[in-house]
């Protein structure tokens, strides 16, 4: 369930922004202002049946009256977006506090944003902040051939340097051209389908961009199952088996040990486990390279062990 202080919200408005993309305006039941958030933050939302999805906050980040999120209906997903699309004005939602994992870098000379499809959502709050603080920003937005541009009017108003690109070839060409012609001190932000993120980051590295300048927001793709392994719980000496199709987090919970988690996709950082020994196979998008290298903490919702690992439980 949601760890830490929860945030009960009420659906204030529902609005279709593109086919299959629905925006929700949420407010506090008492009408109180909501906590401020860092641009690029996401809101954990309890979507029924134990599912918690994270949606980027698209509205104003400073002392907002309401939160806005946009949800792409994925019929082949885990059911969270179907739950969301069934919401009506006045419905109640259990949410967590906003979490920041994709913040703009304040010292950047220029912000180059690259979005694909619903990956546009975190950039709406980035662009609002850029405008407020007079930061220079440009946006390349890949939209499927023939599909309407979600949030088109807002984007036009917020970004003076916006290019909508139709189709993969056009996007690739625009990305290649942009990566070799940014002023010194530019930071790159990319959000969209996993394959697009990997492609852009690879091109950036080839164009000489240090990793410190490249920032990605991943929605978390479905990971392939891993090899089975075992975990020893140091404090009790118990041994638990983790089968190929279960996560370490599943196995720990199945052993009756409650453990905090939110996204269960290796993105949010909630489930972090310290004091791990053994060979860790990291599969998350949360830990830094240095933390990975240290080799004593992991995100059990996605990461695994090789053979036998020891947990501080």
């Amino acid at each position: 369930m949601i760890a830490g202080p929860g945030l009960p919200l009420v659906v204030d408005a529902v609005l279709d922004v593109a086919p299959d993309i629905r925006a929700f305006v949420l407010r506090h039941p008492s009408g109180d202002p909501l906590p401020s958030f860092v641009p690029g933050s996401h809101l954990p939302v309890f979507c029924g049946e134990g599912r918690i999805n994270s949606y980027s906050l698209t509205g104003e980040s400073g002392a907002p009256e309401t939160y806005a999120i946009s949800v792409h209906h994925r019929r082949d997903g885990r059911g969270g977006s179907t739950f969301m699309h069934a919401l009506r004005v006045g419905d109640r939602l259990a949410c967590g506090l906003p979490r920041s994992a994709f913040a703009p870098v304040a010292s950047a000379r220029h912000h180059l944003m690259i979005a694909g499809g619903i990956g546009i959502t975190p950039f709406l709050s980035h662009l609002r902040a850029a405008r407020r603080w007079g930061r220079s920003a440009s946006l390349l937005f890949a939209v499927r051939e023939g599909a309407p541009v979600p949030h088109a009017a807002e984007l036009d108003a917020l970004c003076g340097d916006l290019r909508v690109l139709r189709g993969r070839a056009a996007m690739t060409a625009a990305v290649e051209a942009a990566l070799v012609d940014q002023p010194l001190g530019t930071h790159l932000y990319v959000c969209g389908p996993e394959a697009m993120i990997d492609d852009v980051l690879e091109r950036a590295a080839r164009a000489g961009w240090p990793a410190e300048r490249c920032h990605a927001e991943r929605f978390g793709a479905v990971l392939p199952p891993g090899a089975p392994f075992e975990a020893i719980l140091r404090r009790t000496g118990r041994r638990i088996a983790v089968p190929a199709e279960a996560s370490l987090l599943d196995a720990v919970e199945a052993a009756g040990i409650p453990w905090p988690s939110l996204c269960r996709q290796g993105v949010c950082g909630e489930c972090r486990m310290e004091g791990v020994e053994g060979t860790i196979l990291h599969r998350d998008h949360y830990l830094s390279p240095a933390e990975r290298e240290a080799g004593n903490c992991l995100m059990p919702c996605v990461s695994r062990g090789a053979g036998l690992i020891t947990l501080d439980l």
């Binding site: 070799v180 940014q182 002023p183 010194l184 000489g208 240090p210 410190e212």
Partner: protein, 202 residues
């Protein structure tokens, strides 16, 4: 060329990656808890092969050979280069040249500097102000010996034979000074204090 990463110039304001290896300079001087001088690589670092283009700057004796080595490695990647080995004002001239060069450089480029220590600091400070980060700057300090100094008592700027820990005479106020490890980042000069400042005599 050593295969391992050369030690980078560390911004003293954000010093988080203290190098374990012993600094080559100012051995005779008792290190203060925090000095504003970075540690220098002992040999020129290799060209940063990850760069898509390069800004190369060389000042002072011995910089030319280092620059030639880097330029050769750059192959057909774009290079903007400045070098001035002999003149007194080569640091000033390099700084004047560097600003427009950085404006035409693009993200993905690297800055490589071979220069006396004070020039390295001054030029890399300029680059940071232009938006570059540590990962994009590599430098090599050439030509030990003459340091640009500022007398903290009379504010005279001067050049003198001496490194941190050495004693020099101030041409402005005549005091006997010790060259200190503190580098004025604004002036790009090492601070020099009266030699027995800690002995209690004014």
């Amino acid at each position: 060329m050593p295969a391992e990463n050369p030690r980078r110039i560390i911004d003293p304001m954000h010093e988080t990656t203290a190098s374990a290896s012993r600094p080559r300079r100012h051995r005779r001087f008792v290190a203060s808890a925090r000095t504003s001088l970075p540690t220098w690589p002992d040999a020129p670092p290799p060209l940063d092969e990850a760069g898509r283009g390069f800004v190369l700057v060389g000042t002072g004796r011995g910089a030319a050979a280092v620059l030639d080595g880097w330029r050769a490695r750059a192959g057909d990647r774009p290079v903007l280069a400045f070098r001035d080995e002999n003149t007194e004002e080569s640091g000033d001239r390099a700084a004047v040249w560097l600003e427009p060069a950085l404006a035409s450089a693009r993200t993905g480029w690297r800055l490589m500097i071979a220069a006396p220590a004070a020039d390295v600091l001054r030029l890399s400070a300029l680059a940071r102000r232009a938006g570059m980060i540590e990962a994009e700057i590599r430098a090599f300090a050439v030509q030990d010996g003459v340091s640009p100094l500022v007398c903290v008592h009379c504010r005279t700027d001067f050049e003198a034979e001496g490194e941190p820990g050495d004693e020099v005479d101030c041409p402005g106020c005549g005091l006997r000074l010790v060259v200190h490890q503190h580098l004025s980042r604004r002036l790009g000069r090492l601070a020099a204090f009266v030699a027995d400042a800690e002995g209690g005599r004014p």
